[in-house]
Symmetry: C2
DNA sequence: CTTGGTGCAAAGCTTTTGCATATCA
DNA sequence: TGATATGCAAAAGCTTTGCACCAAG
């Protein structure tokens, strides 16, 4: 996949790509960097940013802004909504309602390329413990 | 409304609030500031930011991130989607599909407080003129 | 060998904050 | 008069950029 795009396969990228594929936590660039530099101490934040941007451009990763100023990455490319806890910041994927699945190709003259749905609320543990 | 919240009525706020009410362009804080300082030359960006944040907190204004890093404000509080042109940055309001209107109160244990729907695409003029 | 990547430090942006002054109630 | 807002400048946070060195193809 990398080679097909004229990119090089480096240890850093392999690590970053692998980490993301199994990740359901919607990390930010910094969160990912914090975790990965324990595995590869020299890993720089710059490299994480470039790798993430590459993946987004290649259509392998979805990038979204959670609504509180933070930018998150999600390897799930099928249509879904993001559940964002306004208290603890936790983010989960939610299946979209059937009606929302058929993304319109055109709305008010706009040609639609992608859709993002954010649901802000309180996650189960923040409801139980409104610290 | 301001007085009800223990706030003072200043010329700056009157100007900012009035400008927003009739605005369908989803301006950013800076765009709004640029326009308004022609009417009130001394107006500072700081004041615009505080006024906008106040309005959002008061529930009079909706704040959303367009997906490209920019933060926009929208006086329309009824449920709707945002049409974002990925080329020129123009933003329009779009009526939501009937199925999306009934916002779920609860999804996967989350208590839902609000919903944001973004549709990214190409606006009519950018389709005609893919500069 | 040649192109592209990495890591560091510095630059860039947007938004917030501290503080003295001015303004509203 | 007393509380709050304003405006400036500085600080803060996140992301990108410039550059020298290194590594993959």
């Amino acid at each position: 996949m990398l080679r097909a795009r004229g990119k090089k396969v480096t240890p850093q990228r392999v690590l970053i790509y692998r980490a993301l594929l199994g990740d359901r936590t919607h990390p930010t660039a910094e969160q990912l960097h914090a975790r990965l530099k324990e595995l590869l101490p020299g890993l720089s934040l710059t490299t994480v940013y470039t790798a993430l941007n590459d993946l987004v451009q290649a259509g392998e990763l979805r990038r979204f802004e959670a609504g509180d100023g933070s930018v998150h990455f999600d390897p799930e490319m099928r249509p879904h909504a993001e559940l964002v806890c306004v208290q603890c910041g936790r983010i989960d994927d939610a299946p979209v309602e059937p009606a929302s699945v058929r993304m319109p190709e055109e709305v008010q003259g706009y040609r639609i390329l992608r859709r993002t749905e954010l649901l802000h609320g309180l996650c189960p543990s923040c409801q139980a413990d409104p610290a």
